[in-house]
């Protein structure tokens, strides 16, 4: 097992009296898509900007690709790609020119046309950035972050404000990055985005980690009570149970014996969205 790409111990960051990040630990492994999930104001961007070397931390240990980003130099920047949460690109340069400009900053950039293809902008190579849709601009932004052929890519809320089809296209692009062997650190406040893209998820709220795991077992979803609902004589009945098979068997057995129907019978597990909302509920 190789060293983790990102390793954080006891990370803290205060702005004046406000503590935005309150002791975060996490590790990101090589080649995985790691989702850092949390509501707005949870400390996601502060954390990611510390990892990117834009901000100084107040306390804790941080290692990204074996270096402290606060003191990392050009060689480190060659290995890292960054897509900021909000960045408008130069409106007067074309897709190809924007990529060529950034390619010139790196020692060993990726081929430009191949990168255009990768982010799905082949038909727009000679269009100016100003003529692209929001989703296309964001994919160009991802292309510019990839042009240096980085090992590690930071994506800060890459689909915020997108319509569903633009999100789907952005997701396809991001999913394609895993196939390239890139390590991706994705921050998002969309549960479904993390679920769709990530190998592992860490949820933060109020500057602290509140849950971590794979999208499937996040928040111990498998072991949470299931909910059974049905109608009986026009009345809604709702049961919560940790042994749904047994409960259901008793329920249906009794109904059959008494010759009744259980109208609108449904068994539901808490959705990932339910778990997420519960975890990040601010008190």
């Amino acid at each position: 097992m190789s060293d983790p790409v990102i390793s954080i111990r006891g990370l803290r960051k205060s702005y004046g009296d406000v503590e935005a990040v309150r002791g975060i630990d996490l590790e990101v492994r090589r080649g995985e898509v790691f989702a850092f999930l949390g509501p707005n104001g949870a400390g996601k961007t502060t954390t990611v900007e510390i990892l990117e070397g834009y901000r100084k931390r107040s306390a804790g240990e941080v290692s990204v690709l074996g270096e402290d980003p606060e003191h990392a130099g050009r060689a480190w920047r060659e290995r890292v790609g960054i897509v900021l949460q909000s960045c408008r690109l130069d409106p007067y340069l074309t897709v190809r020119e924007s990529l060529a400009l950034y390619a010139g900053y790196y020692d060993a950039p990726r081929p430009i046309d191949e990168t255009i293809e990768l982010v799905g902008l082949a038909g727009k190579a000679d269009a100016r950035a100003s003529s692209l849709s929001g989703g296309q601009q964001r994919r160009l932004d991802v292309g510019m972050a990839l042009i240096g052929d980085p090992e590690l890519l930071f994506l800060d809320e890459p689909t915020t404000g997108f319509d569903p089809s633009a999100r789907r296209q952005a997701w396809e692009t991001i999913a394609g990055l895993r196939d390239l062997g890139k390590t991706v650190f994705l921050t998002t406040h969309y549960m479904d985005e993390a679920q769709r893209l990530a190998d592992r998820v860490t949820v933060i709220s109020g500057g602290e980690v509140v849950a971590r795991g794979t999208p499937e077992d996040l928040g111990d979803r498998e072991n949470r009570p299931a909910r059974i609902t049905y109608r009986e004589e026009g009345r809604e009945v709702e049961l919560e149970t940790t042994t749904p098979v047994q409960t259901l068997n008793e329920l249906t057995g009794r109904a059959l014996a008494e010759g009744r129907d259980l109208e609108g019978l449904e068994v539901t597990r808490p959705s990932l969205e339910d778990v997420y909302l519960e975890l990040t509920e601010q008190t």
Binding site: E52, G53, Y54, R74, A75, R77, E78, V80, I82, L84, S86, C87, R88, L89, D90, Y92, L93, E97, A100, L101, Y102, G104, Y105, Y106, D107, R128, M144, G148
Partner: protein, 252 residues
């Protein structure tokens, strides 16, 4: 150095495709020269023992165009790039930050030199204003020192501009009155001496005098004291820029 040229090439592309920069930096000074020459063309100005109005306005408008290509254009474009997040994004790459600034300064100085050529040619062809070829080194030296100094001032000024919307009003509020008070729009002989003294406290007046001296017939080639005053302003601008320039957006 290759990296600076690389950056410069793309800055040039973006500059010439931007209608606002082409209009305000290139077309506007030409239009001003045509207006002043048309309105006051056959009069004389009572400086240097009396010269034609057009002889006065050609170096005056070149002065304006240099400041416009440097201080004005840089302050606006850097604030826009900063608030768009492009400066911050660039800092996330291996490119050293000074390369970005050097590319922009190079772009400004090249545009300023082009404006010199363009306006001098219009002055010569349309109004018979002689180009003092024998003082060409002095003219270019004055222009480059002025352009570099006003670049520094433009970069420093970005620190005082909080948003994209505020860029044009702040820059114009500073420059327009000083163009009037420094004799760029209104010839010296019609300005009260108190106004000139006031304008002497600012770099535009010194740059105008230095450039005027280098350009008009009977001038003194390099006006060292005025050029030194401009350069001191430039150094102050540079120090302020180093201290206060920021790469990250102020808003949002």
């Amino acid at each position: 150095m290759n990296l600076v040229l690389h950056q410069f090439r793309y800055d040039q592309k973006a500059f010439w495709r931007n209608p606002a920069s082409v209009f305000f930096t290139v077309a506007f000074p030409v239009v001003l020269l045509l207006i002043f020459a048309t309105v006051f063309g056959d009069q004389t100005v009572d400086v240097r023992g009396g010269i034609k109005t057009t002889t006065y306005y050609v170096p005056a408008i070149i002065t304006l165009s240099v400041i416009s290509a440097t201080m004005q254009s840089l302050a606006m474009s850097l604030v826009i790039a900063r608030e768009d997040g492009r400066l911050k994004r660039g800092r996330g790459t291996p490119m050293p930050p000074w390369v970005f600034i050097a590319g922009r300064i190079g772009n400004s100085i090249v545009v300023a030199l082009m404006m010199l050529v363009l306006l001098a040619a219009i002055g010569r062809l349309a109004y018979g204003v002689d180009i003092p070829w024998d003082r060409l080194p002095a003219i270019v030296l004055t222009l480059v020192v002025g352009a570099a100094s006003f670049c520094c001032l433009g970069i420093a000024l970005t620190a005082a501009i909080p948003s994209q919307d505020a860029a044009a009003p702040i820059v114009n509020a500073l420059l327009l009155p000083l163009y009037f008070l420094s004799g760029v729009f209104i010839p010296d002989d019609q300005l009260p001496s108190g106004v000139i003294h006031f304008a002497d406290a600012f770099p535009i007046r010194h740059f105008f005098e230095a450039f005027f001296d280098a350009y008009v017939p009977g001038g003194t080639a390099v006006s060292w004291d005025n050029l030194a005053a401009v350069a001191i302003w430039g150094v102050v601008g540079l120090l302020l820029a180093i201290r206060y320039f920021r790469w990250t957006p102020r808003s949002g």
